[in-house]
């Protein structure tokens, strides 16, 4: 019988971690700046022009959906969902092997 996947050395390398962080920063920083800037423009428009109010609908849709997922994100952090980022991929394959062996 082959060695269980979980018994092998961790697959996560320094290079992988670095790549993940760099890509996350490349995505997050410009987008947060862009969104923040446009949201500021929205507030200014809202204060100065009553007709601009109709733009609230898509913005509110977005903010409500994002708020829900931000809460989910915080809950996931508190639950330790991101404590061992690479373990779930190994567990998944182990479970699949177990189910197919039972077959």
């Amino acid at each position: 019988m082959s060695t269980p996947i979980s018994a092998r050395p961790p697959a996560s390398t320094r290079k992988q971690t670095l790549t993940t962080i760099v890509l996350a920063l490349i995505i997050l920083v410009p987008c947060l700046l862009g969104f923040g800037n446009k949201f500021k423009e929205f507030i200014l428009l809202f204060r100065g022009d009553v007709d601009g109010v109709f733009a609230i609908t898509p913005i509110m849709n977005y903010l409500l959906a994002s708020l829900g997922f931000f809460c989910l994100f915080l809950w996931a952090i508190l639950q330790g969902m991101f404590r061992d980022l690479e373990q779930p991929k190994k567990t998944m394959l182990e479970n699949e092997r177990m189910l197919d062996d039972e077959d």
């Binding site: 995505i27 862009g34 609908t57 991929k89 998944m92 394959l93």
Partner: protein
């Protein structure tokens, strides 16, 4: 979770209702046949040979809506539900909430899809792209989506500890699909109008792709690809960047369909920026899958489902590249309303998600029927006709689009642009014929495989009876 596994030792047959998975797949293929037949007939109409001329119930305007709705809610939804009934219980190691509820949802969903088709043919379509479902069906459809979420979330929420990325995608999809459907079908109909309704409509159309089919599609890829390659995905951390990136950036992208409209420019620019953010997220996902393939590229030739999956990923990359062009204001001014967009939509719906689901079926049908495919050659024909067909159709329409845009910008009579487009539409018909033939080949192979499975079963049944 491992302690639970040791205690319970779940078995596949206790987790997965294979008969229901088969039913969903067969229903999906039935709707795909209807949708592609509609597209095939519409192809003749475009080259001025409408075979259904004079039949009001089957007029091109109605058939077009049936074509799009049958693919979105008939094929994609049924095929996804079938695949979910396989993947979710095996990932969560727990069955869905209630098998009777699963069968009820199956029946109810077919009623929703067929009622939509009948409603559209009778002229009751709602005035919203991909939300044409008649208003009296909307509450039923929404209730169905709620039941789907409850049925599948029940085993997922009982999990403890870090969750595999597929389940993150599925969890989000159940919530997003419900919210997106409610937003698109109820807010413009009952609560807002004018530009505001237009803005919500833009969010709905795009979110239906990005928050319904995209998370389910990528979730399935993160599940099936490692299983077939027999190696884990390269970086689970990077896959989570992809998921959370989609969660936070995608919902605002929809307004990029409404550039140059009265919607405030800061919202339009916001949509462009979030679209660029999604492009970056998509890049991380594609990098992850293609690095996972490293050392196993032979699977692209030997393993047919893997070939379907990675072809879909290539098309996904291409559609996102298109998006990057489409969201620039100058390019949008040229290609809006042209066949470029039609090519883009076909590449997304068939080239990506249908390819993934047909690959899933190619993998699962032999397991469901407990026999190999009747003919590997027919499977190959199905793949090549589909892949080359959608490649040709997309390329043809994407090339035609800018030409049409320049014709319109030159203020020549409309007819000139139509006459110019006829050869492109003839090529489109050839491509559609290839794809439709591919489906017919697949259905034939499936019928022969089913007959083969029945023949293999007979001696066992007779022996048991004796």
């Amino acid at each position: 979770m491992s302690a639970d596994v040791e205690r319970e030792r779940p078995r596949h047959e206790d987790l997965v209702d294979e008969r229901l998975v088969s039913w969903y797949f067969l229903a999906a293929l039935g709707y795909m046949f209807i949708s592609m037949l509609g597209g095939f007939l519409m192809g003749f109409q475009l080259i001025r040979h409408n075979p259904l001329r004079g039949i009001e119930l089957l007029s091109p305007g109605r058939w077009r809506m049936i074509h799009t709705n049958a693919i979105a809610y008939g094929f994609l939804a049924n095929a996804f539900l079938g695949a979910l009934h396989w993947a979710v219980p095996r990932l969560a190691l727990r069955p869905v909430l209630d098998r009777r509820l699963s069968y009820f949802i199956f029946g109810a969903w077919q009623v929703v899809v067929l009622s939509t088709a009948v409603g559209i043919m009778l002229g009751q379509a709602q005035g919203l792209e991909w939300g044409e479902t008649p208003v009296w069906i909307d509450p039923l459809a929404l209730a169905g989506l709620l039941l789907v979420a409850i049925n599948f979330l029940a085993p997922i929420v009982r999990l403890r500890g870090p969750m595999y990325v597929t389940l993150w995608y599925f969890t989000a999809a159940f919530i997003w699909t419900f919210l997106t459907y409610a937003m698109g079908n109820f807010i413009p109909q009952y609560f807002v109008s004018g530009t505001s309704a237009g803005a919500v409509g833009g969010l709905f159309i795009h979110d239906l792709v990005g928050l319904f089919v995209t998370p389910l599609g990528w979730g399935l890829m993160y599940y099936f690809v490692p299983i077939m390659l027999k190696k884990p995905v390269w970086s689970h951390g990077l896959s989570l960047v992809g998921f959370w990136g989609l969660a936070f950036f995608y919902p605002l992208t929809g307004i990029h369909h409404f550039l140059y409209t009265p919607i405030p420019m800061f919202l339009q620019y916001g949509a462009v920026i979030s679209t660029i953010a999604v492009e970056m997220v998509v890049t991380t996902v594609l990098i992850n899958f293609f690095v996972t393939l490293r050392g196993a590229t032979g699977a692209l030739t030997n393993n047919l489902p893997i070939r379907w999956f990675y072809t879909g990923m290539v098309f996904y990359g291409l559609t996102c590249l298109q998006c990057a062009f489409q969201t620039t204001l100058t390019f949008q001014a040229l290609i809006h309303f042209t066949d470029w967009v039609v090519g883009h939509a076909h590449m997304v719906m068939f080239g990506v998600f249908s390819m993934w689901l047909l690959g899933t079926m190619t993998y699962l049908f032999p397991r469901l029927l407990k026999t190999d495919w009747y003919s590997r050659t027919l499977c190959e024909w199905h793949y090549w006709l589909s892949a080359l067909g959608i490649g040709l159709m997309s390329a043809d329409l994407i090339v035609a689009g800018p030409f049409q845009g320049y014709f319109w910008a030159s203020l020549l009579p409309w007819d000139v642009s139509v006459d110019f487009s006829i050869p492109f539409w003839a090529v489109r018909l050839v491509a559609g014929t290839m794809m439709f033939t591919g489906l017919l080949v697949f259905l034939t192979n499936l019928a022969l495989t089913w007959a083969q499975a029945r023949r293999a079963e007979e001696p066992a049944v007779l022996a048991a009876a004796a």
